[in-house]
Symmetry: C2
């Protein structure tokens, strides 16, 4: 028998998270083509050609659709390939999780015209194209889990940051309040998580805080336990 394997369309979708006003936001775009024209969706698109690497495609969409030329964290999240998920045919999407620090402007004006930051809480209850609500939920859950055991939280911060800024990351992603004093101690006890960045200080209101930067360690020990 001359059976030939079927071919599928390969897409990448992006869950891009950031902090704005101490709340977790995700980047959504307004779809400019069918299907789901005009609906909110995660940024993403098809592989450009047969030879494009999947991670490269994710980075390209990050630049094209979100105007982000570089992010401190990008990882594959999972595969979403249910047969009926896209009416254009059999589309298999490799979802990615990206994390970026708060940006000066929500989005640049390239192809990313319809892009905007949306609070995750609202995005999760809104109508999203395809199975993007599930992808978003999985991405947020992945971020929540990784905050515990990895240094992912620093990807939400600028190069230097205060401990309370780092605490805001944990509070926003986990959606809970933390005791600043215990957080201070725990973050310092996680060896290699953050390192002091000179004796510099910064000011908002109240006593100025020391500045830190991300340490060399990727896996936290002891971990930052979620209550």
């Amino acid at each position: 028998m001359e059976w030939t394997a079927p071919r599928v369309l390969l897409a990448v979708d992006l869950v891009i998270l950031t902090l704005r006003d101490a709340r977790l936001h995700v980047l959504l775009v307004e779809r400019g083509v069918e299907p789901h024209l005009g609906a909110s969706a995660l940024p993403g698109g098809f592989l450009r050609d047969e030879h494009e690497d999947i991670t490269s495609a994710a980075r390209r969409e990050l630049a094209e659709e979100a105007g982000l030329s570089d992010v401190p964290h990008l990882e594959a999240l999972g595969v979403y390939g249910e047969p009926g998920r896209d009416p254009r045919g059999r589309v298999v999407s490799v979802a990615h999780l990206a994390v970026a620090p708060r940006l000066p402007e929500p989005v640049a004006g390239t192809d990313a015209a319809g892009a905007r930051w949306v609070p995750v809480e609202r995005a999760l209850t809104a109508e999203l194209a395809f199975d993007h609500r599930r992808i978003l939920a999985d991405g947020v859950e992945r971020a929540r889990a990784k905050l515990e055991h990895s240094a992912l939280a620093t990807a939400f911060c600028d190069e230097t940051f205060t401990i309370s800024e780092l605490q805001q990351v944990y509070e926003a992603v986990w959606g809970i309040r933390l005791d600043p004093r215990n957080f201070y101690r725990k973050v310092q006890n996680a060896r290699g998580f953050i390192v002091a960045d000179g004796p510099m200080r910064r000011t908002d209101t109240g006593r100025p805080a020391r500045l830190f930067r991300a340490g060399p360690v990727r896996v936290l020990n002891p971990p930052m336990s979620r209550p």
Copy 2:
């Protein structure tokens, strides 16, 4: 411009783990077709048709190539789609992790003629087709991590098991020795992890042990910490 998205071949590969002689084993097959004809490889294959679900394809390969009609654990592991990984063209593989209890016979004689259980330690140092060594390494690492926080270990056991059998799972997967007395206490303190299965007992040598079965809980609290 009339650009059309490229299509790729979609495959599933399987990291099937089990315990044999208190050591972690993985199921490998001998490839019967080019490329890598005759080489050792993970079981797997292409999507059957445009409408086959990815998980269904994984289950089908599990039955066809491994003779396993049902396993207590099956989950997607990741996507492996590097452009050059398969000379037949652009192949994107969705790797899966399956866990099965020790089986009466290594493999049935259906299509799984060339299938055999290989100690993971040896498989990781052997020559494997494609990028299967990396997939295997990732699968083992996933299993190791999940033992800590989930009830995955019970998937390696029969429906009822003793605590020392469960300990053998942890020791084999983590590749370390554990103190039986501390293990006993920890496993019992993880609420809902295992539940007593009547006052039955079983015998090997020494004092007979109580039998347990998997509890309702999927996430362990407190976790089984890896030393």
